[in-house]
Symmetry: C2
Subunit: 507 residues, 2 copies
């Protein structure tokens, strides 16, 4: 057996994928569990990634005519009950506020008091509370389309939680729009789906598959849910975000009506769509390696980290003067749509310790600068898309001249790597036995490792969907949009089918 | 009696100040009450102001070494009980989560289920929950200072609410920092106070008085609370934000300890500080007039609104071509730290209706462009710091050349106007009878109208403070920092005093 190379993260992805994930989040200082059940603390490095996701998406929403607003955290129970499917979907996992103060319990502690006449639900999503406002805001076709977005926290009481992937409280944006026709609302739904998928590819360097959810997987109360699904390195699917066409269901529940150009009063057509802090989990699992996180430059809080190396005060003086020069040269530069973010790590720690910390955190470019580099007016560069020990020296001026090109190269490399991985692990298949074998773990020690995504026919019956879920723990992730009609037979029951769907295990 | 000039807002400030405020918020489309008790909906125009406040302050926090993070919405009851003064300050007004789901109540409705073993409090402020994380993050002097900020929603159950000024849920930022010494923590407290006050003056065009709160007015659990107070146009004070030196109280409650350079384990020193969506209320009441909101250009969501005026399709074509030219000329310009925000209002409404809408919303510069303006290559400009009918024509090219200068002039004018108003209404006084008369409303029809701020001596006794509060509804807003020691006598009891304080009625 070959000697195992030492990695910064134990266990490795191969050894134990969920364990690896947990250790990466910790090693990169992204987030931690709080003592509040299922709620996470997003630490500065994790939050910095979220801030970049926010700013980028926010600019794109505004460029497509949306504006931000803010609606109440609490939803009266009666609002919630208005849309039957909706309430059924969320009632089992919502935090309920029943009292408005605490008072002395007579035993040195406090007990809830001020019982509310109507319980309040901490929003798991805001269709019903936003709908109540929209009903007041919309009265004529002139008020439409109404294109609103909200950045907020939401709460869904989860039993099994995992940092970023599934937490009781999470951060998200939720778009809510109102339109005068079904077609306009459907166009908005698809426009946003494309905006999301492009963002995933271009910024998160994450290849995704756009598709429609089946009836059983759609948002509670929606007419149609569209999703973009990504493949993690354990070959499981992760739903990265959704865009819903709500038809007139929520407009009817909230009474959102408008007078048409022809003077007829009609119910409006609505959409809603969102992405969450889960994207950070997706980012980690798409690009991370056995040394930690690998961040796409376009979303990294820091693009270039500079680690000065010296052994004494004299060396420190020379090195820091040079580092200052380097910092000045990079100061007003931009990378893509943001200012270039350069960080000089002059903490009182060993150089190697610092370098490894930044590898684990996933910073795209590391520069080490020691006295010999200063003498040669050079920097020693490590790239996060390459092996930790694969470093190269270059003139400082050359680095400054090429830095944006280097960052683009890293962005492209990690996207291509993820794209190749995904493409290699989507298998088109038509045989039931092959299908079953594909989803059966081969490695008893690590049951997470299985085949990948299967692109196979489905007859459209909910029972076939239900059967694979029960037998193989596999669900239909989506009906991909990019496909031609094709005659075939359902991989589960053998009945005729015209479309292939993505079957996969999932988060 | 002179004929009253028609105003866009009824009642006027003189007639009924609280009524005027309510109407301005509505007319400018800033926010509305939701059907959830005490919770507001922040509409796009109001939220746009908040976004500019956020971006500006966020940049300033980052420039002074702070980073953002995110902590749980819920605080376990037991955390809350750790700091005695703190819990006493907030127990009477907190939303309590007691259940984690809803279930069928057997009568077609839903009832709370899944009772929690420990109740959760929706954060009214986060010292205790953040302290629990900090206790894990800090172990050595090398980890200090720890400089964290959070943008979040908080809940304080208020009985009487007013949009922006006092709502059950509001948005804010809360800074939380940890230091190795009392001096460092005090320096941070004062640095942030100055950052806030400078921001208020330079961006919100709002003159403020920086000072220290008395013992009875300080934050529950703080060693010292510093405030910056602004004067509204009804001459009442508004606490615009606070910065707290927490000493070691919260460090002891949360067990935040560190090993000093000398190897000794010590409790850390902490601070916290925040401003809220209340600033928008302050902005309205500082600058607003009887025609609506007046926005300082540096914080306005739109700097220049262009209203095309035409009567037929032909005119429309000519006018819109010219407006497009104007828009192109302004497109890549910047004002202060942001891109110049220009909005062309081409909605299908009468020109006069649109112009008045933008006046009410407080946009700094309005341009009206009709066929005659196009013929002369001119624009017709109205400025929000002047009377609505006081408009002036100028060459379009001259406008483009001078637009940033015009915006600066508006910014300065509204600051100076507010500063003059405040200075004229702070009276230094030493006579008890004059003091009482000053705070007694002169106008029976409008009891809001009284003297203003009194700068008078206070002996330091809580009983004197309590007496003026009871007798005159006046509180000590702060002990101003900018003053020399001076011998005098307490305006309430006549005992010797060395300092003057600001007495005022307040929000």
């Amino acid at each position: 057996m070959a000697k195992k190379e030492k990695t910064a993260i134990t266990p490795t992805r191969q050894e134990n994928y969920p364990g690896w994930y947990q250790q990466v989040v910790k090693a990169a200082d992204l987030a931690e569990n709080s003592e509040v059940r299922g709620c996470m603390v997003i630490k500065p490095w994790g939050y910095g990634i979220w801030e970049n996701i926010q700013r980028t998406l926010d600019d794109k929403f505004k460029a497509t005519g949306h504006v931000n607003a803010y609606f109440p955290l609490f939803i009266p129970k009666s609002y919630f009950e208005k849309e039957a499917e909706h309430v059924e979907g969320f009632a089992k996992e919502c935090a309920v506020v029943t009292h408005s103060r605490l008072e002395d319990d007579g035993h040195g502690g406090l007990k809830p008091a001020g019982k509310l006449t109507e319980e309040l639900i901490v929003r798991p999503t805001s269709e019903t509370i936003i709908g109540a406002s929209f009903a007041k805001w919309v009265s004529s076709y002139r008020d439409l389309p109404l294109l609103i977005n909200q950045w907020a926290n939401v709460v869904r009481w989860e039993l099994r939680t995992r940092l970023f992937l599934r937490t009781t409280e999470f951060l998200w944006q939720e778009g809510h729009t109102v339109h005068a026709s079904s077609q306009e609302a459907q166009d908005e739904t698809m426009m946003i789906l494309k905006l999301y998928a492009d963002f995933a590819r271009e910024y998160l360097a994450m290849p995704v598959i756009e598709g429609r959810k089946t009836e059983s997987e759609k948002f509670p109360g929606a007419e149609a849910t569209y999703t973009f699904e990504a493949m993690m390195q354990d070959k499981k699917a992760l739903q990265a975000g959704t865009s819903h066409f709500l038809g007139q269901k929520f407009a009817k529940a909230s009474n959102i009506k408008f007078q048409s150009k022809e003077g007829v009063e009609e119910f409006a057509w609505t959409t809603s769509w969102g992405v969450t802090t889960r994207l950070i989990g997706a980012l980690i699992m798409t690009h991370g390696d056995d040394n930690g996180v690998v961040l796409p430059p376009r979303i990294a809080p820091v693009h270039v980290v500079v680690v000065p190396i010296y052994r004494n005060e004299e060396e420190q003086k020379t090195v820091m003067a040079f580092v200052q020069e380097l910092e000045d040269a990079l100061k007003d530069m931009r990378y893509h749509e943001r200012a270039l973010q350069v960080k000089v790590d002059d903490r009182d720690l060993r150089g190697g310790e610092k370098v490894w910390e930044w590898i684990k955190k996933g910073v795209p470019v590391r520069l080490e600068v020691g006295p010999r580099d200063v003498a040669a007016a050079s920097v020693f560069m490590g790239r996060r898309d390459m092996e930790p020990r694969q470093k190269s020296g270059m003139k400082m001026t050359d680095f400054v001249e090429n830095v944006t090109g280097i960052l683009d190269e890293i962005q492209n490399n990690i996207f291509k790597k993820a794209e190749t991985f995904m493409n290699e692990n989507i298998i088109s298949m038509d045989d039931h036995d092959v299908f079953c074998d594909y989803f059966t773990p081969k490695n008893a020690e690590n049951p997470e490792i299985h085949g990948g995504f299967a692109l196979a026919h489905w007859c459209g019956d909910a029972s076939c969907e239900e059967n694979v879920k029960k037998d193989l723990k596999v669900t239909i992730r989506c009906i991909p949009l990019a496909q031609e009609a094709e005659e075939g037979r359902c991989i589960v029951c053998g009945k005729p089918s015209t479309k292939r769907v993505i079957y996969a295990k999932s988060y």
